[in-house]
Structure formats: C-alpha cells, structure tokens
Amino acid sequence: MAYGWVGGSLEIDLSQGKVEKQQNDPGLYQAYLGGKGIGTRLFRDKAPLEVDPFSPENLLIFATGVLVGIPTPSASFGTVSFKSPQTNLLSYCAMGGFWAAELKHAGYDTVIVSGKSPSPVYIWIDDDHVEIRDASHLWGKSTPETQAAIRQELGNNSAQVICIGPAGENRLFMASIEHGGTNSAGRAGVGAVMGDKNLKAIAIHGTRDIDLARPAEFVELSEQAFKRSETLRDWVAIKNWCHNYMQEHMDWALYGNADDMPAGSGFERYGEICREFVDRSLARELSCYNCPVKCKSMVSLGNGKYYPVKCQAWMAFTLACKIPDLAFGVKCFDLCVKQGMDYISTARTLAFAIELYQKGILTREDTDGLRLEYGNAEVALTLIAKMARREGLGNILADGTNRAAGIIGRGAEEHVYVVKKLELMTDSVYNPYYAFVTATSDRADLHFGTVALSPSSWHRERDAYIEEGWWLFPQSWRQYLDVDYSANYAGLAEMTVYGEDTKTFVDLAGICWFCTGFWPFPFLKIGDMARLVSCATGMEVDEAEARKIASRTRTLIQASNVRLGMTRRDDTVPEKFFAEEPTQRQKELELVRLDRGQWDKQLDRYYELRGWNSQGVPTAETLDELGLDDVRQDLEERGIL
C-alpha cells in the first residue's frame, strides 16, 4: 500500500489518442519524491533530450508533490517538466491552487503527455475514467471562459481545470498554463508547448483517499507549522504590504529597461498610492489549498468586476510603463491571465519595447503606428493584446526580448536582460547574491534566502530574527551577513547551495516557496519538510537525506542541460552588471558593480560544493554517489565527462 503517494500514473499519447494507466515504481518515487524530480527523471527515460521543443516528441510531465492532497500546510503544488522552446534546455514550472491535489485524489501522482493531437482537445480525468475530448469550440477562448465552459459541459462544478489561453494556442514563448484565476505555470514557454500539442486543457475530478503512514505525528507537525505561520501571514497580508512596504519594495525592484524613475514621475509617492488603492479596492484575500498565508487577493475596480492580484504582478507593469497607477497594473495582469501569458516576461518585454522606442531603435513604422511612450496605459494594453494574437509588432515581441532583439537588430541586443535567454524577474542583480542565485539556478530564476539578505527593514532586528530561528541558513553562518560585497563575496556559494537544496526539496514536496524561504519568516525549513515526508510516506528522511534527494534532482537537471550544450559561460548575468557602474539610484540602495574575479571564485566553489567539475559538469563520483550511474555512462559515452 502506498502512503503519501497514490501509486498510479497516466501516459497519454495525443497523436494516437491513447491513454495508458501505470503502476508507479516505488523506488523511483523514493529517490525523487515528486514534482520536478520525477518530471526530470521521466523525461530522460522517455524522450531524447535533444528533441525539438515544438515537436510531438516533446513531453509535458505533470508531477504532483509528495505532500500534496494531505493536511500539509501550504502544499498545493505540482510541476510541469518540458523542453523549453525559449531556453532550449530542460525546464519546469511549478503551479499551486487545487489541481495537483485533485489529480492525486483521482489516483495519479503523475501524468505524462506526449504527441500532438490533429485537432484541439482537452483531457478529462474523472477517477478511473480518462477521456480525450474535442476542444474545437474552446479554441480561442480566454482562460476563465475555458475553465467555466468545461465545468459546465461536464456538469461538474468541483472539477479542477488547468488550461492555456490564446497565447498558448499561438505558441508565444511567454505563454502560460492558468488555473483558477490566480495560479499559473508561467515561465519558459510551457503554455506554448501545450498549445503546440493542440491540448487546450486538462480537467480533473478525484474522489479517492490518500493514506498517511504516521497520521497522528503528521498532523501534530502540521499544527505546529500552522502556529508558526502566523508571523508570515500577518507580514504578507496585502494591507500590511501596501501600507508599510510598497515604497521600499518599489525602490528595490529595479526594472531593467525602466530603471530610472525621474523625479516627478509619481513614483516617489508610490507607497501612498498603494495605501489608498488597497483601502479602496481590496475585496478578498485568497489562499491555495490548505495554506494559511493569504498571498493573493481579489480587488474590485468599481465596475462590478473582480480582478486577481498577486506578488509583484501588478507592480511589474506599473514599473515597466512608468505608470504609478495600480488599477493599470491590475488590468494588465488580468489581461495576461485571460490570454494565458506569463506576467514576468510580458512586463519585461513591454518595458524593452518602450525603451527601444524611446531610443529610436523602434520607430512608428515598426510599431504599427503605436506611440510606445511611458505613461500611456492604452498603448500598453493594446500591445499586450497584439502580442497574444501575434499581430504586427506583437508578433516580433511574442517570443520575448532575446528573440525580438535578434529580429530587430540595430543594437536592440544591448537592451536585453536575460539569463539563459529567459527574462529576469527583477534586476536587483547588482546585489551579488541575487545575481548569483539567478545565474546558477536550474531555471535562471531567483530562489531562496534572497529577501533574507537584503539590507532592508522587512524583518525586525536582524539579530532577533536569527535568534528566534527564522533565518533560513545555519546560525553559524551569520558572519556572511556582514560581508562587504564591494570587497569580497564570501559565503555566496555556500548559501546558494543551501538555499537551492531547500527550494528543490520544496518543489519535490509540493509546498509553496513563499512559505519556505523566499520571503522572510519561513515556517517550514528543510528539516521540517523532511519530517513531514517521513510521516506521510513512512520513509526515514532527515535533513541530510533531504539534501541528498534535492542534490540528485539538481544534478540530474544539470547533467541534462550540459548535454544540451549549457556551459560555465552560461552561469552568469548580463555583462552590463559587471561592466557598468550602477546608477546613482542603485548606489543609494548599496548596490555594487559585480566583480568578475570574485564571481569566478564563487562559481568554482559552487561547482565544488555541488560535486561538479570546473565546467559545471557533474563528476563521475558525484553521479555514482547519487545513484545516477546511467547518467555518468551517458556523459562518458558522449565525451562530455
């Protein structure tokens, strides 16, 4: 009998219209737990890595976290693993909400989708009944319309639906998969791959039990974590944010193509604007499954409609277009959700296009007559819609800044802010820690402990924060907080590896990263999560074992991507952060120009701690120790190792 997991998977071949049910190999799930660990392993076992992302052979592997669907605080996530059309590497996205739990309750830890349907379809999973259904009538519909229409035609209001919008159908690199209005698997072209397969949606309904190995102990640990969650919950509450931190957050959220905020732009009263906005507009705070932290909200703009708000989604657009009006940000985000677009890459691409126009690299001839000026809300919304439809300039921008710069030329390349071709989430990368974790991460993103290092008033007194046990890292590392980054980067590699192991374990367990270290006051640390996994599954996992499991997944992703040609040279951030002096504003934020010598030293150390050689290739010993001997053999045969 399976505990924690449910023990089944689906393999769905859309070319043949074939559905197969499988019993999972328990050894595989013990080694990788779930999420992107299982996703990466199965991808390697079932498809050639060199596959063209837009070919039927590419896979979409939906893998639930092992702690999902049971009473774990903040565990609602599953991941989607796929070969990214944007980075051309093996990638993944994580998405919370309610779909992953529903999938487990239907009896499946994992769903592997391959092939390409000759016409639009969606998949209906209702416990044992799995069906591929026609979706021609849903093609072109927005993501909320799609979810509502599917629930209605199935006559099942509790079915959980994940779907793409028009952007996914049009295979935008920034196309997302959306769920429930506030949840997205957003990055690296995941929605484009789904669109390429002609797969509009997956609807899920499950009524099965999930068993727990050591139930009483499990629930006791959960209740303790719920108790600890109160600090983060109160801190992150949208009213608290908007009333106390938005100005500071704005100051910190440097925004590449729109970095400078000249006096008079209105942003000096951003904090006040946010306060007024939230007091006027907040309708409800929302959570994912079993989560006490209300990180998402619905706001009303006084027109009888409700709009979702989360994280920096609304902020991103206000910065990108220099429009200090949150209602504008909210409308942009809403449009992204409806069209099925990743707000991070969409906002960054918008900022990029406006900057090019300002610099004269794009002219009105290129923009279909649009004036891409700062402060013009109408034009911004029009351009997002044009991107979703791949219309005119929208078609050039639809695949993100890197591809667009290649098409536009004329020096546009110099205005691209990407790591491994993926738009940066923020470019506080003049902070070496932010830069380093982004450059080395398995998906070119920020991960853990970042906020915990900002010279910020976000937490109470730093010493108290550490002594009360909130700090993500071992307490003995506190001297790293005193490092003067203008002189050296001591501790960077150590903290990156520790944070990355935590984040990886979070993805395997299916917990939300906001609750586990991305923000301050994490109420589940890697040791806590290891205990929960032990009680749920009956395995014995301590912190050391948890880190080993995380390293196995991290190293497998690395081994895959070095086989695809990724090298040490890719583990960096845009050259301008090394070459150019920070602006006055950045200096005021104590940001420094990155130092290549220090960077390289830390990169050597990072690879060493990971057990990879100086080129970032996992060594034979590391691969053997992690039980990846087949991967060692593969790299040896290809002459990479």
Binding site: T207, N290, G304
Partner: protein, 136 residues
C-alpha cells in the same frame, strides 16, 4: 441544553479548503489516517470570478428531494437551487461517502473535541465556534 454552533463569516473565507481537508482526515476510521475532502462534512462553495465563497456544513440527510426550490442572488448573479443547501439529498453527490453513496455525511461537530476541527484549522477566522444555552 448546550447548543454548539459554528458562525460562518463568508467575507473572511480565503477558499483554502483546509476545513474540508482536516474534517475528512479527522473522521477517518483511524484518526487522520486518510485525507479525502470528498468525504468532508463541510464544502466550500466557490464562484471565483464573482468573488463568492461560502463554507457550507453538512446538515441532515433526506431521502427525497425537496419540492420547493429557491434561488439566491448575490451581487446581481443568481445562484440556483442547491448551491448553498446543507442537505445530503438524492439529487446530488455532495455530502455522501464517495465509495458508498448510500451513506450520508453529516457534521457531528467533531464529537467531544474541545474545538471543531474545521474551526481550529481555519486560520482566516471565517469559522468561529460558539456555544449557547437553550432551554430544552
């Protein structure tokens, strides 16, 4: 007689369904040994787009559907028939054991627990427990 009540403040509900989750686990034959919200005696009615979230506690079992029907209008949207109904009733699947639909699920206020589990796990404060004395 002591009457146990749960007060529902729908405006505070975050839609997290922790109440459903813990209710199902608490009522497992061996306490907490399974999780399955479809066995819960509480169900959160959601209409995300219109911002309506209503936790509904399972009420009495009925073996025939009711003859009268009602609708509820919230912010101009009409919700039909059974949306907020508490009954375990032949017209729908809600509040029945999923693998044995002849067995109705009914909120038992978690028996002797000092605090009903859904109230304890509702961190948003949408559910509060109130006891009151009533002459029998």
């Amino acid at each position: 007689m002591k009457i146990k009540t749960i007060r529902i403040d729908a405006s505070k509900c975050t839609g997290c369904r922790a109440c459903e989750m813990i209710c199902s686990a608490f009522h497992a034959e061996q306490k907490y040994s399974i999780a399955n919200p479809k066995r819960a005696r509480i169900n959160v009615f959601k209409d995300e787009e219109n911002d309506v979230y209503v936790p509904v506690l399972a009420g009495p079992y009925t073996d025939v559907e009711c003859l009268g029907r009602n609708t509820v209008t919230i912010n101009d949207k009409e919700y039909g028939e059974c949306s907020f109904c508490r009954a375990s009733c032949p017209t729908r699947v809600l509040f029945k054991e999923p693998d044995a639909p002849e067995i109705a699920l009914k909120c038992d206020m978690c028996g002797d627990e000092p605090l009903p589990m859904c109230v304890k796990w509702c961190m948003a404060g949408a559910l509060t427990y109130v006891e009151r004395e009533e002459a029998s």
